[in-house]
Symmetry: C2
Subunit: 254 residues, 2 copies
DNA sequence: CGGGAATATTTGTATTACAAAACCAGGCGC
DNA sequence: GCGCCTGGTTTTGTAATACAAATATTCCCG
């Protein structure tokens, strides 16, 4: 396991950061069950061949993300699942890597269906001229893009611009998270190239609705776009099961 | 400033945790603008009269929350606002303390209006017997409660139980955040005692809709409850302005 | 048998030293 | 004179060690 040290160096990554990544991923893989104790700091030092300083800083990062709590004499205990900050970039990435990916995607899709139509409506009402220009710029980028990767970049930018125009600061990081998560799982949808061309007018509908400050139309257009991507992913339309399959990707290690 | 050391001890709080709290709050108050550099570690040690270890661990916690990024020779730089993990418990608390509170509340209310109706609908479709029992227990707690504080505890529990029954793990921490934030700003709504009695049948409507597995009714009932609390707070109904007042609580320190 | 004190273990904090990274300036060659 | 390159300097990154604080466990004594 001491190879991690060199791996970190090679990537130009900081050591404590690598440690946090690795330990965090382990927790999300449930190698250490919620409520159980992690190896103590000395053992981590031994496992990775690093100093206690680095281990402690990694521990503090994980604590800041709600994954663990440390107390003297006790050790670091894995906090219950509902305490982890799943909306953290890193935690979400680890979760994505550890869970059933289709189930995860459908959950994300569910969230998008709740948020994006209303966000589009808000953007239609609240946008400034500058914000509208940003949205239009992103859309133009989508139109002009030649390859899929390029298109995706502008797609994300488009949605983020709408988010910014909605004028609710709390929504921005949430949407940011969803969009970046989606672009990470890019390969899942990458195989459906021809659908891109179908999606373009759907995006345009949102844009024009926002430009005309018509919230109802914006909401409808956003729903239409979501219905399209939803069918691509094959996600459940309206609150379908998926409820008790929570543990789908977690069975093996417990 | 060295009093913080004793303050931490008095509270039984860890030193690095207190440091993170204090520095984090400062950043949210924009004492250090996004993109600017924080004092270096030596200076923090001096300011608080603590060791570099404690400062560094605090720094790492803030980095984990997306507030700052540290690089050798450069120092710790405040990241742009959109990178901040506003959905983190602590960050949200600092934000709440630093921003215009009415504006903040209306943003939260906006999010609730997006999420809670759909969550209730999902809960109606997906809930298990156990989850329903939990919701009913929380409701019973609300009915039996005598004082406001007690009622609030069960109120939060009620909403969390519904959230859990929705069967979307991503939503749980988000709702958890919203509910706990709301109970923190408790005093804002605490003065409207008589409204509580009006809210009880609204909660009951949600419960029965879920019990009968009727998503449409659950959605409607949740909307009705939100409309009620929204009128109490005096929040904008439908995407009202509030857009450009982003900076309301931030002017003084820049 | 029960309660309380001693003990041991683990994290928390402090201190020191050195390594690595990156900006900055000064010198050297062209 | 201009530009590249090299060395120095500053700041974080990592390491190692020592001690303090907290608390679970154990053991002794009443």
């Amino acid at each position: 396991m001491r190879k991690l040290k060199k791996a970190a160096k090679a990537r130009g990554e900081r050591l404590h950061h690598s440690l946090a990544q690795d330990i965090g991923a382990r927790i999300l893989r449930e190698e250490y069950a919620p409520g159980s104790l992690l190896p103590n700091e000395a053992e981590w030092c031994d496992v990775y061949g690093v100093s206690r300083t680095a281990v402690r800083e990694a521990i503090k990062m994980l604590a800041a993300k709600g994954l663990i709590v440390s107390r003297p004499k006790i050790g670091s205990r894995v906090r219950p699942r509902e305490a982890w900050n799943l909306l953290d970039r890193d935690v979400l990435a680890w979760y994505w890597a550890a869970s059933d990916q289709h189930h995860f995607l459908s959950n994300v899709q569910q969230m998008r269906e709740m948020l994006e139509p209303e966000v589009a409506a808000l953007a239609a009402l609240n946008h400034t001229a500058l914000q509208l220009a940003t949205i239009e710029g992103a859309f133009k980028g989508m139109v002009d893009s030649t390859n899929i990767a390029d298109w995706n970049v502008h797609d994300v930018r488009f949605h983020l611009a709408i988010l910014g125009a909605a004028g609710n600061e709390l929504l921005v990081p949430l949407g940011f998270l969803i969009e970046s998560a989606l672009s990470n799982m890019f390969e899942f949808t990458a195989s459906h190239n021809e659908d891109v061309r179908k999606a373009l007018p759907l995006h345009e509908a949102i844009l024009t609705a926002i430009r005309r400050r018509s919230p109802a139309a914006a909401r409808r257009a956003a729903r239409a776009l979501l219905a399209d991507t939803s069918s691509v992913i094959g996600a459940p339309r309206k609150g379908r099961p998926a409820a008790k399959s929570r543990n789908a990707g977690r069975r093996r290690s417990a």
